[in-house]
Amino acid sequence: MDYTPHTPQDLEAMLAKVGAEDLPDLFRELPQDLLFPPLNLPAPLSEAEMMRKLHELAAKNHSAAGSFLGGGLRAHYIPAAVGPLATRAEFLSAYTPYQPEASQGLLQAIFEYQTMISELTGLPVSNASLYDGSTAVAEGVLLALRETGRSQVLISQGVHPEYRKVLKTYLDAIGAELETLPLQSGKTPPAMIGPEVGAVVGANPNFLGTVENLAPLAEAAHAAGALFVAVVDALSLALLKPPGSYGADIAVGEGQPLGNAMAFGGPQFGFMAVRENLVRQLPGRLVSETTDADGKRGYILTLQAREQYIRRGKAKSNITTNAQLTALMGAVYLGALGPQGFREVATRSVLNAHDLAQRLRAIPGVRQLTPEPYFCEFVLELPKPPVEVRSRLAERGLHAAVPVPEEYGQNLALFAATEVHTEEDLAALEAALREVLA
C-alpha cells in the first residue's frame, strides 16, 4: 500500500491541467529506455502483514534491555515521559527550524539543550548536536586543526577504538597524521607533544572504564600550542569534574546514556561544547536568543556563515541534518531526572559496576585489567575467548562480555553495569560466568 490520496477523479483533473495523458506521460522528457525498470522487489504488504513480518524478524533477536554490555552504549532506563514528549508529532515531523516564527518550540528546546550540555561539560558553548560520539570526536579534532592551522593529531589509546577508526577515516581524507599514545597500565601516560600537533585527544573515563586525570595531558597540549579535546561519557558528568575545569578546549561525546534507546547502535546523538573563542569554528547548528519585532524574547539559528548552505566549499563542516530529535530526548531526560535524579542514576551505576567487578574477578582465572578508579564499565581478562564466552552467556539469557580489540591485550572482555541492575542480576551474571568458565 502507499500513502497517496489521489482518487480517479483527482487524477483525471490534475493530469488534464498539467497536459499529461497518464502518469507515465509525466516522464516523457526523460530518456525513454531508462524508464520503469523491472524492479526485483517483493509484493506490497498491508500494514497488518507488515507488522506480522516485523514481529517475526524481531523474534529472531534477543532483547539486551537488562544487559551488561558497554563500549559506547549501555542499557539505562528511559523514563516513560521521554519518548511521548520528544516524539510529539510537531517535533517528529518538523524539518530543521529554518523558519523561526513557526519553530519556536524546537528552537527553545535546542537552546535549553545547549545550556544543559554547557552545564555538564563546563564549557560555555554547545552546538545543537552531531551525528554520534564517533563523528563528534572527528569534528572536534578537525575544529582544533582549523584553529591551530596544524596537521598532526595525538590521541590516547583510551579513546574508544571505533571512534579512533572513524577519526582516521576523516583525517586520511585531508592528509592529516594520527598518532596513538598507548595506554600504560590502563592509563594515558605523560606525552611529548611536537610542534606540528594541533589536537591532543583523551577520554574520560577511558575505553577500559578508568577515570583519568587528564589535566597534565591538557597542560602539555597547551604548552605545545595544541588544543585539548576531551571525549567524555555523558553520564559520568553527573559525578566527575567537567572537562572545562581540567583544560579541555573542546568536549565531545556520545549522548545515548541520556534517554536514548540502544537501537542496535543508532540513532543516538553526539554532543560538542567548546570555549567561547572557538565559537566561530564550531560545526553544525547553533541557536541564539534574540528579540522579535515586538521586543519579545525568541530564538533563532545563528552564526550560519559557518555552515555549508552559506559558505559552501569553505564551510566548517558539511553537516546538515544532525541528530535533533535524539538530542531532544537527551534534554527531556535531563529535565525529567533533574540534578538529583541524574546523580542517583550515575551513583547507582558506579556502585553496581564495582559490586559486579568484585564478584567477577573472584572467579578463578579472571583478572581485572582496568585500574582504579573506574566508573561503570571495566575490562576483565578471561581464561576463555570472549567471543565464545559472550555466546555461552547469551544462551543463558545474559548479555555481557563485549570482546575487546586485541590491541589492548588477549582475551579481554568489557562489562558494564547500570542503575537498572539489582543485586540478583549481578549474582545471576556471576553464577552464569562461573558456569561458562568452569
Partner: protein, 485 residues
C-alpha cells in the same frame, strides 16, 4: 482557535525558569549509601552538580507539550520545503522501530539475526532501487553519505595510483552547499560548473572542465531546479572518458524513485537520504540516514563492516582490506533503516513507482496553480518532484514566506538554489491532497493581494514575529544564565 492563539502568543519561560530547588521529577531506583570519594577519587569529583532544571513530572510534561504547540511539522500543516521531501511519515514506522529498540550493537550476532536480516534485505532493496551493486548503510545523513561516497571514489583512484593526479571535484553552481563542503572535507579542490540557460548543466562548460585531473563530478538529478538533466548519459560518457567518477546526490530521488535508476544513467556512486525519499521523520533536523550505493568496481572500498550472508544466517563482515574504514561507530542509524525497510516493503514496486509519479503530478499541478496566482516560473517546463518559482514582480520572497506563516502554511525553501533570484523552491510531495495544493495556491495569491505593507509586517499571530537575526549574530546568546550571574 482564538484561545489557542492567545496561549501561543504568551511568553514561554525556559525550563530553567520553572525550576524550584528541591523539586523532583522521575526517581531512579534507591541508591544505597555510597562513598564516592573512595570509589572515584576525591580529585576526580565535581565540586558542584550541573545546574539542571528541578521540576516535577507534570511541569516537565506541560513544558514540552507547550513547546510542541509553538512548533509546526508535517502533521500540523502543509510543509512544501523544496529539496527536503516533507512527505507524510507513516505511523506504522514508529510502531516498527519500537520492536527493535533494545538491541545492543555488541550483543552476540547470533542473538541479533532479525536485525541483521533486515539490514541485509535493505542493502539489497536499495541497490535494486538505485541500480547499484552494493550498498552501505553506515552513514548517518545525506552529507555523511556524500563524504563516504567521495572517499570511496578517492580510495578507488588511489588504488589505481591516480590519487595525486586527480585533485578536483566538479560541482554545478545549482548544487546544494553540502556538495562543495563535502569535497573540501575529502581534501579536494572544488570547481563550479555553470548552468546553461535551460537550467541544466552546461555540457560544453563541463567538457572544458573535465580532464585527467578530475576525480569526480557530483550531480543531483533531477537537479535543484526540479529539472531532469536530459544530457545525463552524455555527461556520464564525457566523465568516464577521462576516468572521472559520477556521484549522484540522492536528495531528489523522490521524483524518479523506482522509475529511473541512477545506476542506469551512468552514475557510479549514489547516496540516499532515507529521511527524505524513504520518509524517515526529519525530527526537527535529524537523525537521518544516508546509505551509499556503488557499482561493483567501488565495492571493495565501501566502509567496514558490511552485512553479509553466512551459511543460514547473517553476519558483519569486517574483512575488507581495501575499505575506506569506518565513518560512524557501529552499523549506522538502525532505527532509520527499519523505517525505510517498512516503507519499501509496504509500497512494493508499484507503490514506489506510483508514489514517484504522483510526486511529479502534484508538483506540476501546483506549478500551474502558482502561475494563475501571478507567480513567475523561471524554467517553465514539465518539472519533476519540485519546481522553483519567483514572486510577482516587486515582491520579496522573504515577505511571501512570512505571509504564508500568518496564513498557517509552512513556506517553501527560500533563496535556494542560488542561481535564481528570490527563489521559492516548492516540493509538495505525493502525500498531499489536491485540495491542500489548491488551498496553498490560494494562500500564495492572498498574501500578494494583502499588499506589501501587510507582508512586510507579517507574521502577526505566530508565537513570535520576525526575529532580529543581526542581534543574534552580533551578540549571540547561546545558553541560559542563572540570574545574578
Amino acid at each position: 482557535m482564538i484561545a489557542e492563539k492567545k496561549e501561543t502568543r504568551l511568553e514561554s519561560p525556559l525550563i530553567f525558569e520553572k525550576s524550584v530547588p528541591g523539586r523532583r521529577g522521575v526517581r531512579p531506583p534507591a541508591v544505597p549509601q555510597a562513598d564516592l570519594t573512595a570509589l572515584l577519587g576525591a580529585e576526580n569529583l565535581r565540586p558542584e552538580p550541573p545546574r539542571l532544571p528541578e521540576v516535577d513530572e507534570l511541569t516537565l510534561v506541560r513544558h514540552y507539550t507547550g513547546l510542541s504547540r509553538r512548533q509546526i511539522g508535517i502533521d500540523v500543516t502543509f510543509y512544501p520545503l523544496g529539496s527536503c521531501t516533507m512527505k507524510y511519515n507513516p505511523k506504522v514506522h514508529e510502531a516498527a522501530v519500537a520492536l527493535f529498540a533494545d538491541l545492543h550493537p555488541y550483543q552476540a550476532p547470533e542473538t541479533a539475526q532479525g536485525a541483521l536480516q533486515l539490514m541485509y534485505e535493505l542493502q539489497a532493496d536499495l541497490s535494486e532501487i538505485t541500480g547499484m551493486e552494493a550498498t552501505t548503510l553506515q552513514p548517518a545523513a545525506g552529507a555523511h553519505g556524500e563524504l563516504t561516497g567521495i572517499l570511496t571514489i578517492r580510495a578507488y583512484h588511489a588504488s589505481r595510483g591516480e590519487h595525486d593526479q586527480r585533485r578536483v571535484v566538479l560541482v554545478p553552481d545549482s548544487a546544494h552547499g553540502s556538495n562543495p563542503a563535502t569535497a573540501s572535507m575529502a581534501g579536494y579542490t572544488v570547481q563550479e560548473i555553470p548552468s546553461g540557460p535551460d537550467g541544466e548543466v552546461d555540457l560544453e562548460a563541463l567538457r572544458r572542465a573535465l580532464g585527467p585531473h578530475v576525480a569526480a563530478i557530483m550531480l543531483t538529478n533531477p537537479n535543484t531546479l526540479g529539472l531532469f538533466e536530459h544530457q545525463i548519459r552524455a555527461i556520464a560518457e564525457a566523465a568516464h572518458a577521462v576516468g572521472a567518477q559520477m556521484y549522484y546526490d540522492g536528495a531528489n530521488l523522490n521524483a524518479i524513485m523506482g522509475v529511473a535508476r541512477p545506476g542506469d544513467m551512468g552514475f557510479d556512486v549514489v547516496h540516499l537520504n532515507l529521511h527524505k525519499t524513504f520518509t524517515v521523520p526529519h525530527g526537527g533536523g535529524g537523525p537521518g540516514s544516508g546509505p551509499v550505493g556503488v557499482k561493483a568496481h567501488l565495492e571493495p572500498f565501501l566502509p567496514s563492516p558490511q552485512v553479509v550472508r553466512r551459511g543460514e544466517g547473517f553476519a558483519l563482515d569486517y574483512d575488507r582490506p581495501q575499505s575506506i574504514g569506518q565513518v560512524k561507530s557501529f552499523y549506522g542509524n538502525f532505527g532509520a533503516l527499519v523505517r525505510a525497510y517498512v516503507y519499501i516493503r509496504m509500497l512494493g514496486r508499484e507503490g514506489i513507482q506510483r508514489s514517484a509519479a504522483l510526486a511529479v503530478l502534484n508538483a506540476n499541478y501546483l506549478k500551474e496553480l502558482l502561475k494563475e496566482q501571478g507567480y513567475r516560473i523561471p524554467y517553465d517546463r514539465l518539472c519533476m518532484h519540485e519546481f522553483v518559482a519567483q514572486p510577482p514582480e516587486g515582491f520579496k520572497t522573504v515577505d511571501i514566506a512570512k505571509g504564508l506563516l500568518e496564513l498557517g502554511f509552512h513556506p517553501p525553501t527560500v533563496y535556494f538554489p542560488l542561481i535564481v533570484k528570490e527563489a521559492l523552491m516548492v516540493e509538495p510531495t505525493e502525500t498531499e491532497t489536491r485540495e491542500t495544493l489548491e488551498a496553498f495556491a490560494q494562500a500564495l495569491g492572498e498574501v500578494v493581494r494583502r499588499g506589501k505593507e501587510w507582508l512586510e509586517g507579517a507574521p502577526y499571530t505566530t508565537p513570535v514575529r520576525r526575529l532580529d537575526e543581526l542581534q543574534a549574530n552580533r551578540k549571540p546568546k547561546l545558553r541560559w544564565e542563572p540570574s545574578g550571574q
